[in-house]
């Protein structure tokens, strides 16, 4: 366990300077934010660097913050260095009106469906993704259901039998 959060941070700062911001460590996991167009570079560096070796993409998904104007959608990557057993998390913020983020599929195969899922739920447009179509929902769906402005079920629906519900 030689690879500590300090070392990772140091290495990243060496490489990217102050482009990476918001360094925090909630519950011991190093978290930072990268600019939107730098995400692939950061991922590639984390993957290739002989010391860092974050070669396992644990998780990739998005969060919608309607309040943050201009960077409503956050794409969150969880990476794992299996050898030293260190996890880090980094985020990329995108504008909800133009949610273009570079796709990580070239580095991690596993990102393929996770990005499709993120697109499906939040409408994040992953540039460079080989097959960016909905994965879980029906293709005809015309909105991104996990965004905060959409209620859990359609308000206009008629199929819900009111007699069957409590409250």
């Amino acid at each position: 366990m030689s690879l500590t959060n300090e070392i990772i941070k140091q290495r990243l700062v060496e490489k990217f300077g102050d482009q990476l911001t918001d360094w925090v460590e909630p519950y011991g996991m190093l978290t930072f934010t990268a600019p939107k167009d730098q995400n692939l570079k950061v991922l590639q560096f984390l993957f290739d660097d002989a010391e860092l070796r974050f070669q396992f993409l644990t998780d990739l998904q998005a969060v919608h913050y309607p309040a943050k104007k201009g960077e409503e959608l956050a794409v969150v990557y969880h990476l794992h260095n299996l050898v030293d057993n260190v996890r880090i998390r980094f985020k990329v913020f995108a504008d909800v009106t133009k949610p273009d983020v570079f796709s990580a599929t070239a580095i991690y195969q596993s990102a393929n469906w996770m990005e499709r899922e993120t697109y499906d739920f939040f409408g994040v447009n992953f540039v460079g993704h080989p097959n960016l179509i909905r994965v879980l929902n029906v293709d005809e769906m015309d909105y991104f259901p996990m965004r905060k402005e959409f209620p859990m079920e359609e308000q206009t629906r008629v199929d819900k039998d009111d007699a069957m519900f409590g409250r």
């Binding site: 299996l82 050898v83 057993n85 007699a163 069957m164 519900f165 409590g166 409250r167």
Partner: protein, 181 residues
């Protein structure tokens, strides 16, 4: 790939020996195993003739409880409805009128108490949420039915029999077990 932990154990994946590769030994062995099962005791529970006893904490059909004097315990606080993840409980509260003290224990009571058994997932959160010892899940599993409307269980279906007026049915509902206070 280097070992990540010091607990690695390679699974045993040895090549087939010549005898094993003749198919027959494993088949014969397997056939002896299945044959030996002819003589095993059959674990089948012959439902509906026989039933398996459920655990005392089984989560089945709900029961609304009464106290010893046959008064309903529910006070229509609505915690069960809030706690229900399936939103299956409908409740309408009403104030107890004078003269109804023999019917309801508290000042408020549930005038309408309905559980939609088709929605209910029998998670037991309502039982946990009840602060008045009023709703319990019983050891009866919910029966099947032909029509949808048969699954809205109202108060009359859920209430435990009144110990004063119907003592036998009450004893049956209690299952002979002494209530723990």
């Amino acid at each position: 790939m280097q070992a990540l932990t010091n607990r690695v154990k390679q699974v045993d994946r040895k090549k087939l020996s010549f005898i094993e590769s003749l198919y027959l030994p494993a088949i014969i062995k397997g056939m002896f195993i299945t044959f030996s099962h002819i003589f095993k005791r059959k674990p089948t529970v012959r439902y509906p003739e026989k039933t398996r006893t459920f655990s005392p904490v089984f989560r089945g059909l709900h029961v609304l409880n009464r106290d010893e004097q046959g008064r309903e315990n529910c006070t229509a606080c609505g915690l069960c409805a809030v706690a229900c993840p399936a939103e299956a409980i409908t409740m309408e509260g009403a104030e107890r009128k004078p003269g109804e003290e023999g019917l309801y224990r508290e000042e408020k009571y549930a005038a309408r108490y309905e559980i939609n058994m088709l929605r209910c997932i029998f998670c037991g959160l309502c039982e946990e949420a009840c602060p008045k010892d009023a709703i319990y899940l019983s050891e009866t599993f919910a029966p099947a039915n032909f029509q949808r409307k048969g699954f809205i269980y109202g108060k009359e279906d859920l209430l435990i029999p009144n110990p004063v007026t119907e003592p036998e049915a009450y004893a049956k509902a209690k299952g002979g077990r002494v209530a723990v206070k």
